[in-house]
Every structure is written in C-alpha cells, then in structure tokens.
Symmetry: C2
Subunit: 307 residues, 2 copies
Amino acid sequence: MTRDVTVSEVGPRDGLQMVRHVVPTATKLRWIAALHAAGLPEIEVASFVPPNLVPQMADAAEVTRFATTLPGLHVAVLAPNLRGAEAAVAAGAHKITLTLSASEAHSRANLRRSRAEQMQVAKDAAAYVLSLPGKRPSLEAGISTAFGCSIQGEVPEADVVQMAVALAEAGFDSIGLSDTSGYANPQQVRRLLRAVRTEIGARCDSLHLHDTMGLGLANVTVSVEEGIRIFDSALAGLGGCPFAPGASGNIVTEDLVFLLESLGLRTGVSLEALMEARRILAEALPDEPLHGAFARAGRPTGWKEAA
Amino acid sequence: MTRDVTVSEVGPRDGLQMVRHVVPTATKLRWIAALHAAGLPEIEVASFVPPNLVPQMADAAEVTRFATTLPGLHVAVLAPNLRGAEAAVAAGAHKITLTLSASEAHSRANLRRSRAEQMQVAKDAAAYVLSLPGKRPSLEAGISTAFGCSIQGEVPEADVVQMAVALAEAGFDSIGLSDTSGYANPQQVRRLLRAVRTEIGARCDSLHLHDTMGLGLANVTVSVEEGIRIFDSALAGLGGCPFAPGASGNIVTEDLVFLLESLGLRTGVSLEALMEARRILAEALPDEPLHGAFARAGRPTGWKEAA
C-alpha cells in the first residue's frame, strides 16, 4: 500500500473526550477494528490518564494491547506525564504523544500546570522513552492552542515557536501543532508553519485541526501546500475540548480523506469502509451528532480516488 | 466604506430555488433590507423567469424595484434570456447575469437547451444590454457546472475555457465560474482559474461556490490567493439546484465573511447584523435547515475583523 499522506484517526481518544457515558471496551474494540479495516494507518486509541480522573480511559491498556494485534496499524496513545508514558510503553504503544499548551490560561485550565511546569513534565517523559533499550516508541509533542485560545484569545506566535524549539531540543521525534479551539485561519496556518519550520525544520510534521469556525479543510489545504503530510481527524468529526468552550469537533476523517484524494494524495483509506465504521459509531454513541459532508452527499458522480 | 472584497449575497434568488412554498413579497423585502443593513454591497434579489414556470419569482420586478431604493446597494438579478433581460432593465437592475452550463447534460436538464443554443440566447441578451443608451446595467455571465456535474460527472476544462472566451468576445463585462454541484477541490479551482484567466484575464473575476463536499471555504482560500475578489454566498447556506441532485447549499455568507476578514480582507459586512438577518430568515423559512459555523460557535475570543 503506497500512501502519500497519513491520516491519523483520533476519534477513540480525542473524540471521546466530551462524551459523558463510558463506552464499553468491547464497543471500542469493534470501532477501532472497523477504522483499521478502512485502511487508516494510525489510530490514537487511548489516553493513559488516571482512571479516577477520566473513567472513559480506564481501559487504556487493554485497548492499546488489542490495537497492537491489528496488522500494520501504528498504535498511537496520549500520555500526560512520565507515569502515563510508562504505562503506554508497558501496553506496547508504537507512538506516545505528550501535549503542552501554548496558552498559559489553557495550560492551567486543562493540564492544571503552568506552561513551564508542563514543559518539565514532557521533558521527563521524553527522557524516559528516549532511554528505553531496543526499539522504542516514537515520541511526539502536541502543542495545543497553537492558533488561539478560547480563554486567553490570541496566542503569540513567538510562544509557539519557542515551545517547539525547546521540544526539539528535548529530543521529540515529531512536533505537531494543534488548533484546539478551531480558531485558525489559512493565512495564519501558513505563517506559523513557516515560522516553526524555519527553526526546527521538518520535525514539525503534523497538524491537529478542529472545525469550530468551518475552516478546518481550508487549513488542511494550505498545510498540504506547505508540505505537511500527517493530519489528525476523527470519524464523523467527533470531539471537542472541555477546556476550550465553544470548540467543536475534530475535522471529519471522511471529508479529510475526500479532500486529500482529490488533491492527488493517496491516503490508503476506503471511504465506503469509513461509512461502515460510521454505522458502528452511530450505534455506540446514539446521542452524539455525526458530522460530515461526504456522508451526507455521497460520492460525486464520476469522482475517483488519487491514482 | 473601504472594501477589499465583494460578498454578493444570492439567498433571495439562488437560495429560494429549492424552497417549495412561495415566500411572500413583504417577507422578501424585509429579508433583503436586513441583508443590506448588514453591509452587503451586492444582493442578487430575483430571477426574471416566466412566473408560470417559477411562481417563487413572480414578484421579481417589484422586489428589484424595492432593492434599488436601498442606498448604495448594487442590485443584481438573473435573466434566462432576452425577454428576462428586458424585464430586468425595466425594473432598474444594476447587474444582469446570464447563466450557461459547461455541462451539456446539465444545460439540457436545467435550461432545456443545448450549450450552443444557450450561448446564442446569452449573446442575444448581451447585445441588447450593450446597445442600451446611457448608463447600462453591468453584464455578467455565470458558467454553471464549471467544476463538475452531478449528471455528466467530469466537465472538461477545455469546455469551460472555450465558453469563457466566447462570452468575453460577446462583450460580457464579467465572467464567473459556478461550482453548481459543489464538486470542486482547491487544486482544481486554482488550475481552472489560471487556465481561464490566461485566456481572458481579470474579466474572469468571480466565483459562485456550493458546499456539497465541505470544500467551499477551502476553494475560497485558494481563489483569494489567485486574486479573486468577488464571491457569491447565501445567508445560512440556503440553496441548491433541482437539476444537480445531491448538491447542497451555497457557501454560508457568515462563514465566508469570517474567513475573508480573518485573511485581512475588509468585507464591510457586520457579522452581528447578519445574525439579525438570520432571525428573519428563520421566521420566513421555518422548514429550511440553516447552516453555518459562525452562527453555531460565535465570535472567537479576541477575534477582530480586518483593520
């Protein structure tokens, strides 16, 4: 399977962040298996947070272990700190993401730490992963609220650049920019990508976009032009952030795949199989609104995937 | 009022194309007045089609005459042929748009004429408008299905270029490309704009986009980069085309304004006043779904219009 671009599905993790009722483990496994069957190369399956804080993620280890049995799947997880990273490693995760917030206000609300404190937490976890003997998981840092914050408003670009440089120096393999609030516009995305990549180059390689203002796919478009080839998204646009009021879901996986294939970039993902996975999601989360233009409109007459 | 870009509201015309119940004239006038009060510089208020075919537009002359009393408003209308153009002139329209379809199949289904026949119809109407003594209305041609057709599928770009050249030769002041089906992707938009503008230059100056596949604002983004400064849209994304099955509404005026202002382009439109106009629309068309990210999410913390 030749792919030109990686669609990293985050529904089972980010998509569940706002869902109140705890999804049974068996349902998560069916959902993840259907996402894998649709050809998604990477799925963020869980967050290794304390179960008493986030009951939704109490089965993180079991879900991660299951995901590692799916052939060829790159199994990504979130870890808030060293302890989470240790648990993620024990469960066999292939990729571990630490998140930091570029907004001081969001960092304190969401992570309950200042940015400086969270940077130290991320560095400690990174040092542990980097010191593992043998083949270690890849290590990603996600910079939240990189394009604006619903609490603080504007986030200075210099803060994001500075954070990215510090994370690159700490040894993170990959640094992603997250539009947690969904405030980014295409001009800003282009400008910030250039500013960060001027400092740390292609190590800034992925984007995590929300669709709050309806600009998610416009932001993907310019990012593709800037050379980004890894995008997070969630089936049916599930998601949101409890500490980013008004933020709506992630960009919709189905529509992202449609856009990327239309741009001539092979995703390896089957849109029809994503529609199957949507049916599982609709059964599992009957109270969640499922978004998406492709699901509503269907395949355009004569449209074909990238050759 | 300095504007960098023209948002041309088409709700009262294109937006009503799929609406079954005839909207009372008084309601249309309230709606148009609210759109004007929001700062929209141009509104397509009616289509001068035979009232027995489209009862929704039976009041075209009255609506147009009213619109011309609104200070500073550029009053645009659609005319299907010479007779429609004559009626539009009599009602005092400032801009008359003739539409042609680049897809033979769509032309026959929607206009009941071949492309060649419709080209002659457009030329006859243009000759009439161009021969008017004194200050004449501006004359626009809209090339429908320029980016694909839900009946025919792919529309060859050479067909669109050829049609644009013929329309420029016929004396049309302005030639717009319409994504009637909402199938366009950003790469295609950039490519076709360049192909057409290589032949006829800046006379190809406007885009009419639908949001069927969720790519409307991504397509605006690249069009802005290509130098386009006139965009059609409809409040709340009203619209659709009875002969383009599956096509959803026009791009949403509110979200278009938000995007353009975010890109630093002054629209002269008040988003808060558009929310007022939305309330009128919700009352007038209680059965129509009203779309839009800005209406749902509100103004981002700290966000400001272009200075």
